[in-house]
């Protein structure tokens, strides 16, 4: 089904306004809410938890089901080992990409 241009524009507008509202409310509420000390200490922990969840789902799923390949986890693992050994960030990301791309180039998916 082909959607009308006006419908698509409305979807984009709703997503833009909604996403900005989500972002700005977190940023602005931080000071307004007068959160208790315990909650303030939890915020960075919560952010790290969600970031690690993003990483884990990006590596181990394709968005709606589990997908255990070889190339992608191997690339991320190579990068993670280098990061753990305190390699510079740029080396970490390049090695991760080259490892995954190299494995795919020789037919390992």
């Amino acid at each position: 089904m082909k959607l009308a241009n006006s419908t698509v524009a409305l979807v984009i507008a709703a997503l833009a306004v909604g996403t900005y509202a989500i972002r700005v409310s977190g940023v602005m509420l931080r000071d307004k809410l007068k959160l208790p000390e315990g909650v303030l200490r939890l915020l960075p922990v919560a952010a790290t938890t969600m970031l690690l969840a993003l990483i884990a789902t990006a590596v181990l799923t394709n968005g709606d089901k589990w997908e255990l390949g070889i190339a992608r986890p191997a690339g991320v693992l190579a990068g993670a080992l280098l990061a753990w050994r305190k390699a510079p960030f740029i080396v970490v990301v390049l090695v991760a990409a080259v490892t995954a791309a190299g494995l795919r180039a020789i037919g390992v998916e």
Partner: protein, 228 residues
């Protein structure tokens, strides 16, 4: 004020630039995929400028191509809901003035949240947030426009290993925080919950469900006050 806006360190610029180039290539494929799925050329461009959240944009394009506008809005907002707790965490980093926070909110993404939180010094935190946010905004949008123009000539970003690059980059940034036992426990449990929940929950919810990992904190907290 001047000290805060001093030129960022060379290593910060280099790292931010590396991630931004990769984001530009992902943007390239987003622009190409969106137009290939039959959407008008302005759709991916408007999305990238005004929504500026890659995951939700890919989902929305897929659902619009299937003729499902309502699911595109709801699904996209669900994926972006994580930005609220991100905003709570990095809000003070963005700036002290209202207008800087209003502007910074639009470029609040996973990458600059991770980059800012990986810095210890407040000046570098602010620089990292703005540098990564601004650079990614430019390269992502430029990539999308280019992808719309060149269309079908764009290859799959996985060929270049970019699907491994982004998780590795974020992992390198969160690794230092995982040294803390409380954070490590919550984050590992949360990541496991998110992966396990992915096949059963709609996109976006598994990431929010990872916050359940915080419930394990009392089990590992040593400094727990003794209540009588």
């Amino acid at each position: 004020m001047r000290s805060i806006w001093r030129t960022p360190d060379a290593d910060l610029i280099r790292d931010a630039a590396a991630l931004s180039v990769a984001a530009g290539v992902i943007g390239l494929s987003f622009g190409a995929i969106a137009t290939a799925s039959g959407l008008a050329y302005w759709v991916p461009i408007a999305m990238s400028l005004f929504i500026f959240a890659g995951g939700s944009q890919f989902l929305a394009v897929g659902l619009l191509a299937l003729g499902n506008p309502l699911a595109a809005v709801l699904g996209g907002l669900l994926i972006n809901a994580r930005h609220l707790p991100f905003g709570l965490a990095v809000g003070p980093v963005i700036g002290d003035k209202t207008w800087t926070r209003l502007l910074g909110s639009h470029v609040l993404i996973d990458e600059n949240t991770a980059f800012a939180m990986a810095q210890t010094d407040p000046r570098r935190q602010r620089q990292a947030f703005w540098l990564v946010g601004a650079l990614l905004f430019v390269t992502w949008n430029a990539g999308v426009v280019l992808g719309v123009v060149v269309g079908g000539m764009v290859g799959d970003p996985a060929t270049f290993g970019l699907d491994a690059m982004f998780p590795a980059a974020l992992l390198a940034l969160v690794l230092p925080s995982l040294k803390d036992k409380v954070t490590r426990t919550a984050a590992l449990a949360g990541a496991a919950i998110a992966v396990l929940a992915t096949p059963v929950l709609p996109a976006g919810l598994p990431i929010l469900a990872s916050l359940l990992g915080l419930l394990l904190i009392p089990l590992v907290q040593s400094r727990q006050p003794v209540t009588v």
